[in-house]
């Protein structure tokens, strides 16, 4: 193990630094008294204060300290180690310190900013730094885990997102396997004849629309030598870990197996099934979804245009759109807003107005949500074209003597409405595609309350764990353009990883003390990631647990499950945590 460059005698020596955070800490906490109390001992080489350790000046100071003083480990009392702590430890690491010999406690958020009483805050900060020093003394130097990344990718889902990611990755020369459950690429966007608010022909002409003579994106994917397209196929099993995952795909021609370095999850969405909301009478032929309306319009183009309702082929004179079907509905649907339905419904209404200028069209909405550039103008034009916007949630669709009526309250005017209608269009919301739960489980991707897959950091898309990137609507409803952006970001991350060919990540993972392991299997059963296997040690004639460091996420479920404390998490070992706690609690004694 690599020790600090100076401390070659193997003795543990710690340096303690207190950060004033440009007054944010030092105004509320008496750092000087804490520094005075922390007496220098053979173990504590130096105690020093700085106005801002994360500043350039602070980093320079730390480097000079490291270069001139004989310590191998550092305890810092400053802000949250999750934020600026990274800057502080990196500065020391650059000067040769093993970064696993570093502990930072948070006396800004946890003392200076949360306890108004200066004495109390100072007392607590003093305890926290003692805890950090005690823990630091128990830390062990470690090396990062280096993981080789295979130069190939799996893309799950052949919709716009999956195709775009596959094309981007393939264009950099990497092999891509794209798995699609249905019998064609293009996904849901391909079935759109128009996209809004631009009224463009799909994204890159990917619609069923007959006017479109070729579908270049899909062709690009099929013709790309680096892309293997597996249609009517599903992911059966994924084993292995970061950088090297073994994939089994069930295809019509049997199981296909291959290894990949990165995975793009683009499983997309499905539309809400409106039959779950009985009062909307979806069983009636003339109550259709926005997706079905799209098909009607496309079919009708071949038959001279216009629009005819499904039940009797009559041209509808009155059409009512009902928004938020299955969305923003805690009881019968989903709480989340599906984001695209408002734009889509208004677009469809305007299309109908183009072919049936005299049609009476109502759109029943709660709020109109179109967080896209051009939406407001688009909505304004719709109003100008005579489309009626009615605020209020439709109570029910009523069938009376073969006629349909919309019962709703116009919450703006307070009028109770009973509108006879020829056609009802339900703007159905979106849910994760069927089977996406299987994929998220297989890849241990966390899902949110809305059941969509989750990012580790919602502000940084595609900063997803360990070579697995979730893109497009698998992460929640969004428009095509945003899905494409996701795809490109995910592809860029995957490409970056594969081009480097390897990556280092922290060894904060489980390890086994084989002399103590009795091979009972409790840790294996507690592990959600299947990172632990029981293996026979032929030499000793025993079976013990082995951890696959690359699969291990370092959560510590195994350590807590082990009766014999034979499995532990690096840097969170029982002794390390206990040393910190004991020091925190010991202070009272020192006070007398």
């Amino acid at each position: 193990m690599e020790e600090g460059s100076q401390a070659t005698d193997g003795k543990k020596r710690v340096a303690a630094y207190l950060c004033g955070c440009r007054g944010a800490i030092s105004r509320h906490i008496d750092l000087e008294s804490i520094a005075k109390e922390l007496s220098i001992s053979p173990e504590i080489v130096t105690v020093a204060m700085h106005d801002a350790l994360c500043s350039r000046d602070g980093q320079k100071f730390l480097k000079e300290e490291r270069a001139s003083k004989n310590f191998d480990r550092v305890a810092v009392a400053a802000c949250s180690p999750n934020i600026q702590g990274l800057i502080i430890s990196r500065a020391l690491e650059e000067e040769g310190m093993n970064r696993y010999l570093f502990e930072q406690v948070n006396i800004r958020e946890q003392c200076a900013w949360s306890h108004a009483d200066r004495d109390e805050a100072t007392k607590k900060a003093s305890k926290l730094i003692r805890g950090a020093i005690a823990r630091t003394m128990e830390l062990e130097a470690l090396e990062d885990i280096e993981v080789p990344i295979l130069p190939s990718a799996l893309v799950i889902g052949g919709g716009v997102t999956g195709m775009q990611a596959a094309l981007d990755i393939a264009s950099e020369g990497f092999k891509v396997h794209i798995v699609e459950r249905s019998d064609e690429l293009g996904g849901r966007a391909y079935k759109l004849s128009m996209t809004f608010p631009t009224h463009n022909c799909g994204i890159c002409c990917m619609q069923y629309c007959k006017e479109c003579v070729f579908t270049p994106k899909i062709e690009d994917v099929h013709q790309n030598e680096n892309i293997e397209v597996l249609l009517n196929s599903e992911v059966e099993e994924i084993t292995g870990g970061f950088g090297d995952r073994h994939i089994k795909i069930k295809t019509p021609d049997g199981t296909v197996e291959f290894d990949v370095g990165t995975i793009i999850v683009a499983t997309g969405t499905k539309t809400f099934d409106p039959s779950r909301i009985l009062e909307l009478r979806y069983e009636n032929k003339d109550v259709i979804t926005t997706v079905e309306l799209e098909q009607l319009i496309v079919e009708q183009r071949d038959k001279g245009g216009g629009l005819k309702r499904p039940s009797d082929g009559k041209v509808p004179e009155t059409i009512n759109f009902i928004q938020c079907v299955g969305s923003r509905d805690k009881v019968k649907g989903n709480l989340h807003c599906s984001l695209v339905c408002c734009t889509y419904a208004i677009g469809q209404a305007r299309e109908i107005k183009k072919v049936l200028p005299d049609a009476e069209i109502y759109i029943h909405y709660i709020d109109l949500r179109g967080p896209y550039r051009g939406f407001e103008e688009f909505y304004d034009q719709a109003k100008g074209e005579g489309i009626n916007f009615v605020r209020g949630r439709v109570s029910e669709v009523v069938e009376d003597h073969g006629k349909l009526f919309i019962r709703a309250l116009d919450t703006d005017s307070g009028d109770l409405l009973n509108i006879p209608t020829d056609l009802v269009v339900l703007a159905v919301g979106q849910e994760p595609a069927d089977g996406s739960d299987v994929i998220s489980k297989m890849l241990h991707i966390q899902t949110d309350i809305d059941k969509f897959m989750k990012d580790i950091n919602p502000m940084f898309p595609s900063e997803f764990r360990r070579g697995v990137y979730v893109a497009g609507t698998a992460q929640g409803p969004k428009g095509i353009r945003y899905s494409i952006e996701d795809a490109k970001a995910a592809a860029a991350s995957a490409i970056d990883l594969m081009q480097k060919g390897k990556i280092k990540f922290p060894r904060i993972v489980a390890f086994v003390d084989e002399e103590r392991c009795r091979g009972c299997g409790r840790c294996r059963d507690a592990c959600e990631y299947e990172a632990i296997t029981l293996e026979e040690d032929k030499e000793k004639g025993v079976t013990v647990s082995k951890v696959d460091e690359i699969i291990c996420e370092g959560c510590g479920a195994c350590a807590a499950a082990c009766c014999n404390k034979a499995i532990m998490i690096n840097t969170f070992k029982r002794e390390q945590v206990e040393a910190q706690i004991r020091a925190l609690l010991q202070e009272a004694e020192a006070d007398g």
Binding site: S80, N82, N106, R108, E109, Q110, A112, W113, S114, H115, A116, D117, E120, A121, K124, K127, L128, G131, H444, Q446, D448, I449, E515, R516, R518, G519, C520, G521, R524, A526, E528, L534, K540, V542, T543, E553, G554, C555, G556, A557, A559, A560, A561, C563, N564, K565, A566, I569, F572, R574, E575, V577, E578, I581, R582, L584, L585, Q586, A588, E589
Partner: protein, 553 residues
């Protein structure tokens, strides 16, 4: 103890917060300048599910008055199910807290999203108020430990141990290694080499020497040594020296059980030991017969998930005594006998427990103390009396006691129904080799067996150990030994293996629940406590509902 400015009690609270939600929620509270009491000290862990029971107990032992675990919202754990695991663990630990008199209200879990700063502040505020209301706890740890011994001092001490245990007489014949159950399974282990190292004066590694902790002190070697070397005594002495030289014994359960025992030694908590005493049991505060229950209520809580029903043992013992017209004294103030501390190098706490327990029994006016646990019996009979001289009260193991009751006619042989199963009897080391009780269990067994009693092949002083003693040693070799013992009983055709020691039961149960290298049918034998079996045959206890043994979690 922490005191507020006005001299009022201010509790020390340790908050374990997960990296993903608990810790950031505290950060966010700070960023928004939301005040919460400074009593709360935050420890960041990766996941709430990684917080071990032993670490929580260690915090209390070292002066915490409350522990709160804060993790992600349920169904939203960053690691899938860590918070659920934490909740289950804390629920189980609460039961142990209540038995100990620590009050389970001092333990809390909260599931808070990273963004829920006010919820964080509210939760810790409430918790601090609650713990403040519960009041202070007594000092749970002995005052500052003495300075570690120097190598020279240790050398002297080791020399003394060698003399005291006749280890100098060792002629290195190797007889001990031949019978040592550990050496049978682990060729690298040889008892005599530890003696050898000690005799050569090598003490520098004493703190890190694992071999001295590997021994079970099962006394197979003592029984075989032609020169009467007290090997187990030697090991016990060496452990004490190792601890004084700075060793931290490696204990199963992460030292949780030893923590509990040390807390008992050092603090008088309002224990809640007698929850097992059902309304129809006749027990007294004073009387001739004192029933020393031992740590059964604690083990029952610690091993809750195993469903071992260890509290059936004490209930059975009292029911048997009641049948014979005896109303035993059982005390809520009883403490651990100290066996495990005595065998893990903690003499001072052991002696505190000893003095306390002996005083308690004296005050009860008892003339006779009955034990179900072989370890408690051995500790009173050998260790206490070695240190304090012979007691005025009599010490009896339940096997001898029931035998006496039968001899006197208080319990008739016909009162026992015959066993409808074939069974073998496992001699626990503390009862057999340590205390020489071999006959009564067999006489009882033969009495109620019909022809269903099977003698083990390796039996009496040759009986193989359950593999763990004093919670100090457990590993893959130990498991082999346990499987070997279970196979032996099964091969002989036994349906049940009876034993007196609750720890043997825990350890064998462990092997039965483990992933094992042999076919399960070779070991799937029912483990039952001897006292409970007797009570059942006397129709004093009901048969439990059949639960599958082995891998039911």
């Amino acid at each position: 103890m922490a005191e507020g400015k006005g001299g009022s009690f201010e509790p020390e609270i340790i908050a374990f917060t997960c990296t993903w939600c608990g810790y950031p929620s505290a950060n966010l509270a700070g960023i928004n300048k939301i005040e919460y009491p400074p009593n709360v000290k935050i420890i960041r862990v990766m996941c709430s599910g990684s917080v071990e029971s032993c670490v929580i107990m260690d915090a209390f032992e070292n002066g915490a008055h409350g522990v709160i675990i804060i993790g992600c919202l349920m169904d939203n754990c960053h690691y899938v199910s860590g918070n659920k695991k934490a909740e289950e663990r804390v629920e189980a630990l609460k039961e142990l807290f209540d038995v100990m008199g620590l009050d389970s209200k001092r333990l809390r879990t909260e599931w808070i999203n990273a963004s829920e700063r006010t919820k964080f502040a509210k939760a810790v505020n409430e918790f601090v108020d609650e713990v403040r209301a519960l009041g202070p706890l007594p000092q749970m740890k002995k005052a500052r430990e003495a300075e570690p011994r120097t190598a020279e001092q240790t050398k002297e001490k080791v020399k003394q141990i060698i003399e005291d245990t006749s280890a100098f007489d060792c002629v290195e014949c190797g007889k001990c290694t031949t019978v040592c159950p550990i050496a049978t399974f682990d060729p690298n282990f040889a008892p005599r080499t530890i003696v050898l190292r000690a005799m050569e004066g090598i003490v520098e590694n004493i703190a890190t020497d694992r071999d001295i902790w590997t021994c079970f002190a099962c006394e197979q070697c003592n029984a075989m040594c032609p020169y009467k070397v007290d090997y187990s005594g030697f090991i016990r002495g060496m452990r004490e020296e190792a601890v004084k030289y700075g060793a931290a014994p490696l204990c199963s359960q992460g030292g949780l059980i030893h923590s509990v025992q040390r807390i008992m030694a050092n603090a008088d908590l309002n224990q809640n030991r007698l929850a097992w005493v059902k309304d129809d049991l006749k027990v007294a505060d004073k009387g001739d017969v004192f029933y020393f229950v031992g740590c059964l209520p604690h083990y029952d809580a610690i091993f809750k998930d195993r469903r071992l029903r260890l509290k059936d043992i004490c209930e059975s013992a009292v029911r048997i005594m009641n049948k014979a017209g005896i109303t035993p004294v059982v005390s809520n103030d009883e403490k651990c006998c100290g066996h495990d501390l005595n065998w893990t190098g903690n003499e001072s706490d052991f002696e505190k427990l000893m003095e306390y327990n002996v005083d308690l029994i004296k005050k009860s006016g008892a003339k006779k103390v009955v034990f179900t646990c072989p370890e408690c019996y051995r500790t009173f009979n050998s260790d206490y009396q070695d240190l304090l001289g012979d007691f005025e009260f009599e010490l009896v193991h339940i096997s001898d006691f029931v035998k006496q009751l039968m001899d006197s006619g208080d319990i008739g042989a016909d009162d026992f129904s015959k066993t409808p199963y074939k069974f073998a009897y496992h001699d626990s080391c503390r009862l057999g080799r340590h205390s020489g009780i071999y006959d009564s269990p067999r006489q009882l067994a033969e009495g109620f067996s019909g022809d269903n009693y099977i003698e083990m092949e390796r039996t009496k002083d040759k009986a193989v150990c359950c593999g763990v003693s004093a919670w100090a040693n457990c590993n893959a070799q130990v498991k082999k030994m346990q499987i070997d013992r279970l196979q032996e009983a099964k091969k002989l055709g036994a349906d049940k293996l009876l034993m007196f020691c609750p720890k043997c039961q825990v350890h064998f149960d462990c092997a039965l629940r483990d992933e094992i290298p042999v076919d399960r049918s070779e070991v799937d034998i029912e483990i039952e406590d001897f006292t409970v079996a007797m009570a059942r045959l006397l129709s004093l206890m009901e048969e439990p509902k059949k639960e599958p043994t082995g891998t039911d979690e």
